[in-house]
């Protein structure tokens, strides 16, 4: 009896005992096909989900785009009373808070990555790394509460008055640091965002820096470089592409972060030159206003269009980040 007849024959025709029979029976072959199909379908589902998200946001926001045209993205007016909506304020708030957050967290993350890969005694590296990663596991709403109840009052009492007194008299730059000190606002939001993306970026940086071949680092030490020089002239340049990618991933997270921002950004639909002023981001605007909008209203369409804009921005940033990270870590 050949394998083929065994596989094609009825159940009883396969005379091998034990698992061998079921392995080659026609039922086994059918199971195999069904199983592969289930795996395939699950994989496709991932594509379907993101496709559906994109389509829903696009068509959901279409009425707003039709009503206001592309001026929707530049207009700074957001007025539910006269039913006029523009994304300008939120786009500005989203970009400014995220870029400021990067400004704070990139040097800090690189520093901690330097500490974790070169400075810290080897037995302490793993526990500290894990502790830093636990920072990333804390839900964002906790950062929001902590930011609102603990950080914002400190900013209002101590940090912002000092910065305002010290810097607001300067020409031009002074506008950026103009008062009053409210505690909440763009600046505090950026700090909280920086803290939230810091652990994530740090662990990505560490991963990149650990992939630098020991030989080239040793070569640099061999010609007399200090630890810091090896880090800045060998390790970082070697992992440059992936480090930029990891930074973009951090930016992607900051752009879409919602709950923490909703607590501390101040939620004011206007643009101010001062970084201490209240503002709004796309996500905070959605969190605070969406449940008050009626299905089918222009307000809801505008909010969905905001969501679509956030989706497109995040998608582009994440796509670029992934391209940069993968090309280095796998290449």
């Amino acid at each position: 009896m050949t394998l083929e007849t065994m596989a094609d024959g009825p159940e009883g025709a396969a005379t091998l005992s034990g698992p061998g029979r079921s392995l080659t029976s026609s039922r086994g072959a059918k199971v195999d096909i069904a199983f592969r199909f289930a795996l395939y379908a699950s994989g496709i589902l991932v594509l379907v989900v993101i496709g559906a998200i994109m389509v829903q946001l696009f068509f959901g926001g279409l009425p707003a785009l039709l009503a206001f045209g592309f001026e929707f993205f530049t207009s700074t007016e957001w007025d539910p009373v006269s039913d006029q909506y523009g994304a300008g304020v939120m786009l500005y708030g989203t970009l400014v808070t995220s870029v400021l957050a990067l400004l704070f967290s990139v040097p800090a993350s690189l520093g901690i990555a330097f500490f974790l890969t070169e400075v810290a005694p080897i037995p302490t590296r793993k526990p500290i790394g894990i502790a830093v990663q636990l920072l990333a596991a804390v839900p964002s709403i906790i950062y929001g509460m902590w930011g609102f109840f603990v950080v914002a009052p400190i900013m209002k009492e101590y940090v912002q008055p000092i910065l305002i007194d010290g810097l607001s008299w300067l020409p031009v730059i002074g506008y950026i640091f103009a008062g009053p000190a409210k505690g909440t606002g763009i600046f505090t939001t950026s700090l909280i965002l920086a803290l939230m993306i810091l652990p994530f970026m740090t662990s990505m940086y560490v991963e990149v820096l650990e992939s630098v071949p020991g030989v080239i680092k040793e070569a640099s030490y061999g010609v007399g470089s200090t630890t810091w020089e090896v880090f800045t002239t060998v390790s970082v340049p070697y992992g440059r592409t992936a480090i930029i990618g990891a930074t973009m991933l951090g930016l992607g997270r900051a752009l879409g972060e919602t709950m923490a921002v909703a607590f501390v950004v101040g939620n004011a639909a206007r643009i101010s030159t001062s970084i201490f002023a209240s503002g709004a981001t796309i996500s905070s605007q959605l969190a605070n206003n969406f449940n008050e909008s009626l299905p089918g209203s222009l307000l809801q369409a505008s909010l969905l269009e905001l969501g679509f804009a956030l989706f497109v921005i995040s998608f582009l940033v994440l796509a670029l980040a992934r391209y940069l990270v993968r090309s280095r870590l796998q290449g």
Partner: protein, 279 residues
């Protein structure tokens, strides 16, 4: 200062700065935890875990929100984790480097980092608006979409760590692919896959943004998945903005519960992985 001394000085300075930054990061983590304990612990009581939010003032707790969260997170895991494991298995065992597999991988990474509030908007559009109301089912869908990409990624990564010789040995015995995958591959990668699920669960348990527009919240006990469903994150979000101090206190108590739960899940998932001797 000589050039040599200056270089040494820079090196020492930067090492100190880097150490300082790490200390600050750890101190901030400690600060958050201390704040949570300081503000949340004293408002924890038996009532917190036994009484619903709409119980008479003074004795109200968070029991309905805790149970609602547990129900939704559990259901979301039950629905999304198997799909995630299968999709991850597809990527590792069947898809390989084909165009389709690479685009699924790419899309999954995007979904992994995509703003979770957009998931909330999406679920609102497909499951809340058509049925004219928030529902637990919508909440489960939203959390499921949060969980899915985490499990897909973990499964693929863990299956790739299984030595190829194990897979080949199973095939050489004549086992069909489904047997190789279920009996050999999944078994070998079990600890890693479970870790991925725990991490996904931890992430879903703390997610607030996807729930605001899907399940929303409720004051009373809720067991009907077709109605608004109470849950911990949305409760914290709403109560933290209340002027009444007892509600803010409850929000802190909820924040403490959720953070401890999430950190515990994270630490235990690491323990699961460490237990198998892999890093």
């Amino acid at each position: 200062m000589s050039r040599y001394k200056r270089r040494l000085f820079t090196d020492n300075l930067m090492q100190v700065v880097a150490t300082g930054l790490a200390v600050i990061a750890l101190a901030l983590l400690a600060w958050i935890l201390v704040t949570l304990f300081a503000k949340g612990f004293h408002s924890l009581s038996v009532n917190t875990f036994t009484q619903p939010m709409d119980a008479p003032a003074g004795s109200s707790g968070l029991a309905n929100a805790i149970v609602g969260s547990l129900i939704m997170v559990a259901l979301a895991t039950v629905v999304a984790a198997p799909i995630g494991v299968m999709a991850g298995t597809y990527l590792s065992e069947i898809g390989g480097n084909t165009k389709l597999a690479n685009s699924i991988r790419f899309i999954n990474d995007v979904l992994l980092s995509a703003p979770s509030i957009l998931i909330g908007l999406f679920v609102y559009n497909i499951a809340v608006k058509p049925f004219h109301g928030f529902s637990g089912i919508a909440g489960v869908m939203a959390l499921g979409i949060v969980i899915l990409p985490v499990v897909v990624r973990a499964t693929e990564d863990m299956l790739r760590l299984v030595p190829g010789s194990l897979r080949e040995a199973a095939f050489a015995l004549g086992a069909p692919q489904w047997k190789v995958i279920t009996d050999v591959m999944w078994r070998a990668a079990r600890a890693g896959i479970v870790t991925g699920m725990l991490l996904a669960l931890a992430r879903a348990a703390g997610e607030t943004a996807p729930l605001i527009f899907s399940s929303s919240g409720a004051q009373a006990w809720t067991f009907n998945l077709t109605k608004q469903m109470s849950n911990l994150p949305v409760t914290i979000y709403q109560y933290a903005q209340e002027p009444a101090q007892d509600k803010v206190d409850l929000a802190w108590a909820g924040a403490l519960i959720i953070t401890l739960g999430v950190l515990l899940l994270n630490i235990s998932s690491r323990a699961v992985l460490a237990g198998t001797g892999r890093k």
